[in-house]
């Protein structure tokens, strides 16, 4: 088990590569080398020795009484002030990936970023993260990144590049030929200033922002309705009733990390809270949001507008205002309207579809329900999506007609993700001058003449304003690994300015933001504090008169009412929770994170409703052809609306490094433009079954709980009547054993998982993978059920196939006090600690897998192959994702052993963090504080569903949660006495009685 850096030597070399190479040798000489203690080779080590033991143990051991090969210990020449070898440093920063934003802490060891944690101080993300945020650390070490600037794929220096580009830009400027700067939405104030100054230097340059899944309709609707363009600040935590029309706000809609926080905050039932919001979701596919809804109504995408119009009409009726003539709403809609009316001022209606008319109606509904100012505010805005779809369309036509002569592109990949990507690609190829400032090659950037590679965000300085007056700083955790330069620096250089972007930000902050606060007496302390906290939240008093200004809703409703009902298939494309827009396709952690609902990884697929599947004789794994020529495997998804199919974007990358290349199918072209807005669904789809089969990598193949009390749930009403509802048997078997319950003298570590808070997003899985060096196994291995995740999220369907209810349950090692796995290990490799941990000693394990068999929770993972290069036998590496090359191994946590082939591993409850926390308390000579130690999964969770703590500490949060009537142990009837417990899931549905 060799793979992590110990402390010192790695700083310099980045790896323990041999200091000296020796001449090639024959086999025999190699053998002798191993015993030759005088040899400086580092490639012969104890492990090599053990190899030979297999062949001739006897003679080997005798000879081995010589010493081992030489290991070097290389100290710093001059040690950086802040680095203590063996201790981690944290830097507050921000994660940005297009319109995704998160305030984070970068954990570095000996100057090497190894982990991303959420920043508690942010009032936007509240310390939560998403799977992609957690996985972004691996992007830093991506081997496919651009390593230097280039021209026509030839390496050039930055000076040459700058010279060339300036020349070209000036040439364009002189001839007054139009050029375009294409970026995603820029919500960094300083970057905006940089771009502006660039645009001033080159007035012939137009700036176009492009979001591959924009919020154009939202922005336009708000402009039309209220005269203020932009996206509202949604407050799901202020809404008692949430109605969502296909808005996957827990998955990928706007700011999921913040929305999950808000949503679950309102729905937590701990600390005496007795109310929770009710969530009603209309949607066609089973989204993450829909699977968390209390009521979910499967509808076709094209039917939504009609339903919204009817709902609006009914609300008007309830309000006593003149209503429109429109087809009669169903009882459900009328009931819903009544509920909304009762909850006016504390409800929230949202819609995900990028349709201006629909969004106007939604605005009108919210307006009539008096929700503006409470659960949504137009004066405060989400700023991460500002692009307007028509701009892109215009750009494409300008490029095609030759009106635009040059393109400077940064951070976007339209060739891949724009629905007219191929046209775009052809147009770019024709340009004589094109510069890409992307970090890594993608389908678009490779068509560019010049590559001026950007830094990874962990190598960059920046500032951000994701929401109105919520500022956030980005600071680097490491110097650029390659010869790259920040986008902003490049623009500054080309506009002929001082190129120090950090100074630029500072100046900007001093001028613009420092005056917004009064706490700090001078700018330096303001800056230092902001940098340390990562965020700055200005107190602004905004007054905005939210008055509905739009007339002519009648026409609009007429249009909707007169739209002919579509029959036949409707196809919806969406961003999957794990993959998102596909920018991270080359990230193996993301690829291997199963989708929360379908539990499929390493692929996209066409979800089909069970009824449809039966009619068309389809089953999961059948390959079907769409009339657009795309071939996709089928996944039969309960809850998918009849006559609809859906498929995820973000797959089928063709130019992104070895990991994500050709994984799945690119379906961007299945979007279309409607009323100048890009919409995700299309009608008139035809599907034909092919004879081919396709293997999907599923981590869960059985979807029913089989009537077992695995996830215990109750309705809110039942819960209020009896807090133990659904959990009548809680802790009933606690004292059933023949032996005394074990006693833990000081700590008894435990976890409580609140199933009511867990939305199933999967951030915990990736956090665990990053923290604990969990290997990536690849698609083939996942198909063989060899995945290694220490924490998995089980998903069960119950109810009908047509519209099942869904439960998520994170399952990690339960750290049973009567652990079945411990008894059966012949070599005592897994034992119990006096702190209640189920310990796994990898170096003792011989790999009988008996413990895995005997684990009722099936949380033990076996290293089937050498996934990590830690094995002693050569030439048997199974590494599909380049995870064992030196660069990517920089991400390994040096505090966790890298496991070798043939050993069992499992959740250790982040024992390395426990040990560190205890040590800190001991050094300070104090009691350990509750909440001081956080496991990686707990830290990453945006909803606070996982609570770690000391069960022996009666004042701790976990001890309180354990006493809750909702608390239960998984499979408690087999008396394993787990240290992990769950809180029942409460749905805000009608009780059975009432």
């Amino acid at each position: 088990m060799k793979k992590h850096w110990k402390s010192l030597a790695e700083r310099k070399n980045g790896s323990d590569t041999p200091e000296k190479q020796s001449l090639p040798k024959g086999n025999l000489e190699q053998i002798l080398d191993i015993f030759d203690n005088g040899n400086e080779k580092t490639q012969s080590n104890r492990r090599d020795f053990l190899k030979l033991c297999g062949y001739s143990l006897a003679i080997g051991t005798v000879l081995a009484s010589c010493e081992n090969s030489v290991q070097k210990a290389i100290p710093y020449l001059i040690k950086p002030e802040e680095i203590t070898p063996g201790k981690a440093n944290y830097y507050a920063s921000s994660y940005v990936n297009g319109s995704e934003y998160c305030s984070i802490l970068i954990k570095t060891r000996e100057g090497r970023p190894i982990k991303i944690e959420g920043n508690d101080l942010s009032s936007v993300t509240y310390g939560g993260t998403s799977a992609r945020v957690q996985a972004s650390i691996l992007e830093l070490y991506d081997t496919s990144r651009y390593k230097n600037p280039s021209k026509d794929e030839q390496k050039i220096s930055w000076e040459e590049l700058d010279q060339d580009i300036l020349q070209q830009l000036n040439h364009l400027k002189e001839n007054n030929e139009s050029a375009v700067l294409l970026t995603p939405t820029i919500y960094s104030p300083s970057t905006k200033a940089v771009i502006n100054s660039f645009l001033i230097s080159f007035p012939n340059v137009n700036w176009v922002q492009y979001d591959n899944r924009s919020a154009t309709a939202c922005i336009k609707a708000n402009e039309l309705c209220f005269g203020k363009a932009g996206i509202c600040d949604y407050r799901f935590d202020y809404a008692d009733l949430i109605v969502s029309f296909d808005a996957d706000f827990l998955g990928n809609w706007l700011m999921p990390v913040e929305h999950i926080r808000q949503y679950t905050k309102k729905r937590k039932l701990s600390d005496g809270n007795t109310s929770m919001s009710r969530h009603i979701q209309f949607e066609s596919r089973m989204s993450l949001t829909g699977s968390n809804a209390d009521y979910r109504i499967p509808v076709k995408p094209s039917e939504q507008a009609m339903l919204v119009a009817q709902l609006y009409n009914e609300i008007l009726k309830l309000k006593g205002i003149e209503s429109y003539s429109i087809s009669v709403a169903s009882d459900d809609i009328r009931e819903l309207a009544k509920n909304l009316w009762e909850n006016r001022g504390k409800s929230l209606v949202v819609a995900g579809e990028n349709d201006v008319n629909l969004q106007i109606l939604i605005n009108a509904i919210n307006y009539e329900l008096e929700n503006y100012g409470t659960s949504l505010r137009i004066d405060k805005q989400i700023l991460t999506k500002q692009a307007i779809d028509s701009d892109m369309e215009q750009l494409l036509s300008d490029l095609t007609t030759g009106k635009t002569k040059a393109l400077i592109s940064y951070g976007v990949n339209p060739v891949y993700d724009y629905f007219k990507g191929e046209d775009f690609g052809r147009a770019i190829k024709k340009l004589s001058f094109s510069v890409s400032l992307d970090m890594a090659p993608n389908e678009t950037s490779t068509l560019f003449k010049y590559i001026a590679p950007d830094n990874h965000f962990i190598e960059s300085w920046n500032d951000l304003e994701p929401k109105t007056s919520r500022y956030s700083l980005m600071q680097p955790g490491i110097r650029p690994l390659f010869d790259t330069r920040q986008f902003q620096t490049s623009l500054l250089a080309w506009s002929g300015q001082e190129t120090d972007y950090l100074q630029f930000i500072k100046k900007h902050w001093e001028e613009e933001l420092y005056p917004l606060q009064t706490s700090y007496p001078n700018f330096t302390s303001f800056w230092n504090n902001s940098l340390q906290q990562g965020v700055f939240e200005a107190q602004t008093k905004s007054v905005f008169d939210t008055k509905f200004k739009l007339n002519g809703l009648g026409e609009l409703i007429d249009t909707i009412a007169n739209t002919p009902k579509s029959s036949g298939f409707e196809l919806q494309v969406y961003e999957s929770v794990a993959m998102g827009d596909g920018k991270m396709a080359n990230n193996p952690w993301i690829q291997e994170l199963p989708d929360p609902v379908t539990k499929i990884c390493w692929d996209n697929y066409l979800t089909v409703s069970p009824k449809q599947a039966e009619e068309m004789d389809l089953e999961t794994g059948d390959l079907v052809a769409l009339n657009s020529g795309v071939k996709l495997p089928v996944y039969v998804l309960p809850g998918q609306a009849y006559n609809t199919v859906a498929v995820a974007l973000g797959y089928g990358r063709t130019n992104c490094g070895v990991v994500g290349k050709n994984v799945g199918v690119n379906v961007s072209k299945l979007s279309r433009l409607k009323n100048n807005c890009r919409v995700d669904f299309s009608t008139g789809i035809e599907i034909s079954k092919t004879e081919e089969k396709y293997e999907l990598a599923m981590t869960q193949t059985h979807h029913s709980m089989e009537g077992r009390a695995i996830v215990r749930e109750a309705s809110l009403g039942d819960y209020l009547n009896d807090p133990a509802a659904g959990n009548e048997a809680n802790h009933a078997y606690e004292n059933a054993g023949i032996y005394k319950k074990p006693n833990f003298p000081n700590h008894h570590w435990g976890l409580v998982v609140d199933l009511n808070s867990c939305v199933g997003c999967g951030a915990c899985s990736i956090a665990c993978q990053a923290e604990n060096n969990v290997p990536v196994v690849g698609k083939k291995e996942v198909i063989r059920a060899h995945e290694m995740a220490w924490i998995r999220i089980d998903r069960y369907f119950s109810g009908t196939d047509f519209n099942p209810s869904v439960t998520f349950q994170p399952v990690m090692c339960q750290h049973c006090d009567n652990a079945p796995c411990e008894n059966v290990c012949p070599v005592a490799a897994t034992t119990h600690s006096s702190e209640g941990l189920n310990q796994m000693a990898y170096n003792r394990c011989i790999g009988t897998r008996y413990c895995g068999n005997n684990c009722p929770y099936k949380v033990r993972r076996f290293n089937w192959f050498d996934y990590t290069k830690a094995d002693s036998i050569p030439n048997n590496l199974h590494d599909v994702a380049e995870m064992t090359i030196d660069l990517k191994r920089m991400v390994l946590n040096p505090d966790v052993t890298v496991r070798a082939k043939g050993v069992i591993e499992k959740c250790s409850m982040c024992v390395q963090r426990i040990q560190e926390g205890k040590l800190n308390a001991k050094i300070d000579g104090r009691k350990l504080r509750d909440g001081e130690i956080k496991t990686a999964c707990q830290q990453a969770c945006p909803s606070g569903a996982i609570i770690f703590g000391d069960l022996n500490d009666k004042d701790s949060q976990i001890a309180k949660e354990t006493l809750s009537k909702r608390n239960y142990h998984l499979l408690e009837e087999i008396h394993t006495l787990p240290s992990v417990s769950y809180l029942t899931k409460i749905r805000n549905t009608k009780t059975n009685n009432s």
Binding site: G737, P742, D817, N818, A819, E822, N823, A828, H832, S833
Partner: protein, 173 residues
């Protein structure tokens, strides 16, 4: 000078009768070599009951004590581990290994005792009087006194029982 007489029978019943008669005449029988264990021969020759069962018992007892003692010591004194919420000293868990080692020690102890006592072992090469004594001949070797007083009696008994190849041998002692 040591003298003895050797002969063989082709049927074990002749051998048995001859043995009984010779014993009745107080003639000392040095050895009887048979191809298979002849029922009743050991009583006819007056052999005492073997002590091997006692050896087996003692060895078994040692095995039992070692196995149980070692498990107890290792789990309660030397390295007590918390395993699956079970007590350190857990008799049911120790029984299988204790039993196995008891049997192992008893069986091997007894077998080793047998080989040592019988002077058998790898490479032991005892004199083979007749190559067919392991096949179908029942060989008897009778000690004779130096004076030769018994020769006639022995010979007559042997001849009576159809013994073949009766030879008198002399060996310098």
């Amino acid at each position: 000078m040591k003298r003895y007489i050797s002969a063989y029978f082709e049927d074990e019943e002749n051998l048995l009768r001859a043995t009984k008669e010779l014993r009745a005449k107080d003639v000392s029988i040095q050895d009887v070599l048979t191809p298979f264990p002849v029922h009743g021969l050991d009583t006819a020759l007056g052999y005492k009951r073997s002590n091997l069962p006692t050896v087996a018992f003692i060895c078994g007892a040692i095995g039992l004590a070692i196995a149980f003692g070692f498990q107890t010591w290792a789990f309660t004194v030397d390295y007590p581990l918390f395993i699956g919420g079970k007590p350190h000293f857990s008799i049911p868990s120790f029984i299988p290994i204790t039993f196995e080692l008891t049997v192992l020690f008893a069986a091997f102890g007894m077998a080793i005792a047998f080989f040592i006592r019988s002077k058998l072992g790898p490479g032991a090469n005892n004199i083979i009087h007749d190559e067919r004594s392991t096949n179908d001949r029942f060989v008897i070797i009778v000690d004779l006194d130096e004076a030769g007083n018994q020769d006639a009696i022995v010979k007559s008994i042997l001849e009576k029982e159809e013994a073949l190849n009766i030879q008198v041998k002399e060996i310098e002692s």
